[in-house]
Point group: C2
Chain length 373, copies 2
C-alpha cells in the first residue's frame, strides 16, 4: 500500500490510480450490465456514462431495483462556494441535470458555505459572496425549478444541525483522522463538518417521515464523506445512499493533476469570455503531440495525455462518432494539436455561451430555489 492514493475532499495528490481507488474505497466498477439497466429507463446514455467518465458506483443496482418497484429516488449533489465555478463543476452538474430529466427526480443541492469558511483562509463575507455567485451558475444549469431545492448550510442550519448531531454522535475523531488525514491541529468546526454534509442524504426521509432512496453523483474525492455516513445511516434507521463516482476533471497543465480552485492552478471558469478560453487553452493545455509538425505527422500524437482531447472526451464532445474520428486522426498525426485546440475552444465557447445566457436571468430566481420547510 505504499502507492496509496491520496484522494479526499481536502487533498488530491498527483496522478490518481482509479483502479486502485475502486479497490481501496470498495467501489463497484460501472460495467455493461449496469449501463444496460440504466438505458432501459433513459433510452440513450449520457456520454459520461458511455465513456467511463462516471467510472464507479455504490449500490446503483439497489437504487434501480427500488426505482423499478416504483420507489423513486431523489438526487443529492452540491457545491463548495469558495471561488468561481469551473469546467469540472459544470460537467458534474450538467450530468446531474441529465439524471434529473431522465428519472424525473427531486434534487437537493447543498451549498457548503460552512465547510469552505472552516477550511479556507477566506472571511465569512467572502464565502457568502461566492455562495451567491455560485448559485447563479447552478440555476443556469437549468434544473427543474419545481423539483430542485437549494440547501445553504448556514441558512438551513436550523434544519440541518439537529440531524447532524445524531450522525455526529456515531463518528469518532479517529475515523475522521483516518478518512481525511486530519491532526489535532485541525479546527473543531472542520472536524464536525462531515456530519453536516451527510444530512441532505436523509433529509427528505426526515421531512417525509419515511425512507426515500437517495442517489449522489459526485467527484470521487467526495466519497470519504459518504463512506463514513453510509456506516452511520443504518444505525439511525435510514437507507445508505447510492453513489455515482466521476473521474476528477483534468487540469489544463496535464493529466497528472486535477482542475481545482484550491490549488491556485489555471481554471477555465463558467464566466470566461471566448477570448479568455482561447488564450488559456492555447497557452496552457498540455499537448499530446510531437515536438515538431513534421514529427507529429510522422509519429502521430497521444490523445491519452492531450488535455484538449481529454476535455472533449470528458464532456464537451457529445458525439461518439466525432470523438472517435478525432482520436484516430490525432493518433495518426492527421490532425495537429493546434487543430485539436481550435476545435476544443469552439466546443467550450459554444457551451459557455448558452450557459452564460441562462445565467443572466438567474439572479431574480434565487430565492425560489431555497428549500422551504
Amino acid at each position: 500500500m505504499s502507492n496509496k492514493n491520496i484522494v479526499n475532499p481536502y487533498e488530491v495528490k498527483g496522478k490518481v490510480d482509479y483502479n486502485g481507488l475502486i479497490h481501496e474505497f470498495g467501489l463497484e466498477k460501472i460495467d455493461e450490465k449496469v449501463l444496460n439497466r440504466i438505458q432501459n429507463h433513459t433510452r440513450d446514455l449520457h456520454q459520461m456514462l458511455k465513456r467511463g467518465i462516471i467510472f464507479a458506483h455504490r449500490d446503483l443496482n439497489w437504487i434501480l431495483d427500488e426505482y423499478e418497484k416504483g420507489n423513486k429516488f431523489f438526487l443529492y449533489t452540491g457545491c463548495g462556494p469558495s471561488g468561481p465555478i469551473h469546467l469540472g463543476h459544470l460537467q458534474m452538474w450538467y450530468f446531474t441535470k441529465w439524471l434529473q430529466d431522465k428519472f424525473d427526480c427531486e434534487l437537493y443541492f447543498q451549498f457548503t458555505d460552512d465547510e469552505k469558511f472552516l477550511y479556507k483562509n477566506l472571511s465569512y463575507e467572502e464565502i457568502q459572496k461566492w455562495t451567491e455567485e455560485n448559485m447563479l451558475d447552478v440555476i443556469a444549469i437549468g434544473f427543474n425549478p419545481k423539483k430542485t431545492h437549494f440547501i445553504i448550510d448556514t441558512k438551513h442550519a436550523g434544519l440541518l444541525y439537529p440531524e447532524a448531531i445524531k450522525i455526529a454522535k456515531k463518528i469518532t475523531f479517529s475515523t475522521i483522522k483516518s478518512s481525511f488525514g486530519f491532526t489535532d491541529s485541525n479546527n473543531i468546526g472542520s472536524i464536525f463538518y462531515t456530519s453536516m454534509q451527510a444530512v441532505p442524504a436523509i433529509l427528505p426521509s426526515v421531512l417525509k417521515k419515511k425512507n426515500v432512496p437517495c442517489l449522489i453523483p459526485l467527484g470521487v474525492d467526495q466519497d470519504p464523506h459518504f463512506r463514513i455516513a453510509r456506516d452511520v445511516f443504518p444505525k439511525l434507521g435510514f437507507y445508505k445512499p447510492a453513489i455515482l463516482h466521476k473521474l476528477m476533471f483534468p487540469s489544463l497543465t496535464g493529466m497528472n493533476n486535477v482542475m481545482s480552485s484550491s490549488k491556485g492552478s489555471v481554471l477555465i471558469t463558467a464566466r470566461d469570455s471566448p477570448s479568455e478560453v482561447k488564450k488559456k487553452i492555447n497557452k496552457y493545455a498540455f499537448s499530446g503531440g510531437q515536438a515538431t509538425m513534421e514529427e507529429h505527422k510522422k509519429k502521430g500524437g497521444n490523445p491519452e495525455i492531450d488535455v484538449s482531447f481529454q476535455y472533449l472526451k470528458h464532456f464537451f464532445e457529445e458525439s461518439d462518432e466525432r470523438l472517435n474520428q478525432l482520436e484516430k486522426d490525432y493518433t495518426s498525426g492527421k490532425i495537429s494539436t493546434g487543430e485539436m485546440k481550435y476545435y476544443t475552444i469552439e466546443k467550450i465557447n459554444q457551451f459557455l455561451k448558452e450557459h452564460q445566457k441562462r445565467r443572466e436571468s438567474a439572479k431574480s430566481k434565487i430565492s425560489k430555489y431555497f428549500l422551504k420547510y
Copy 2:
C-alpha cells in the same frame, strides 16, 4: 501539579481544592473590595456572595466599570437537560434571578439539549422530554418574563450555528483535549460543542450589531468552556464575558463529592415531595456529629463536614444571624445532627413548596420565553 484538580463540565473528581482552582484557572478571588462595589448598586448582598459560595470571578471589576458608565450588561446562564432539576441548579438560578432583579438585566438562558444528547447515553426524544421538563423549573424561578430569553440549541440552531463556526474556526482539537480531557475516541459532535455554548455570550452583540457586556454566573466546572471562548472573542471583535464562579453544590453523602445527575448519586430534586426530602436528608445527609448523643454533647459536632448545615450555608438559610447561631450551637454540641436535619428539611420543603406552586402554572408560558429573532 500531581494534585491537580479534575474539574471540567464532564468530570469533577473527588474533593475540589478551590484555592488551587483559582490558581490553576487564573481566577480572581471574590474579596471585600469587589463585594463593596456590588453592594453600592444592590444595597444588600445575596447570602451566596457574603458567604463565599460565589467564590471567584473573571473581570467583574470591568463589568462594574461599564455598568457605572451606563453600559448595561446582560446575564447568560444555562441548563443541560438530561435529568431532573436538583438543588444545585436551583441555587445557581435563584442567585441569577437576584442578579437580574438587582441590575434589571436581560437574561439569555441556554438549554444545551445538543450537548446532553451528544454526551449522554440518552435518545434524542428523552433529551427533548427533559428539556420541556426543565423549562418548567426555570420558569418557576420567576425570572422577569419581559427580559428573559430561552435559547434551545437544537431549536435555535439557525441562529447559533453560523456564529458557532466563526468561533470553532479558531479552536483546535489540541485545545479541546487539554481543556476537557478528550481523546480521539470522542464523538465529533462533542468536540465541536463548546462553540455552541460560547455563542450566547456574544449573541446580543451580534443581534444588536454593537458590543454588549456579558456576565455569566456558573458552577466552576463550566469555566473551561468560557476560558476557551474568552481567548477567541477578542479575535472576532467581541468583549470577553465576565464570570462569577460558584462552589459546586455538595452531594448528600459528603463534602468530598458534588450533587450531580451524572453520577447516579442521590439527588434532592425540584419536584421532591416533603416526605421524599425528609427521607433523603434523614437517610443520606452526612453527619458532622459524634458517634453517640452523649459524646456529641461533650465534644460537639463539625459543621464543616455536616451536609445539612452546609446546605443551609450554601443557600437555604437566608439569615446570617440564624446561620451563625446554628454553627455555634452545633460546634458546642448544644444541637444534635437530628435537630440540624429537622431544621434543614423544614427550610428546603418550605422553599420547594413555593417553587412547585409557581411551576404548576409554568406550562402555558413556555413559548413566551423563547428567544424571538
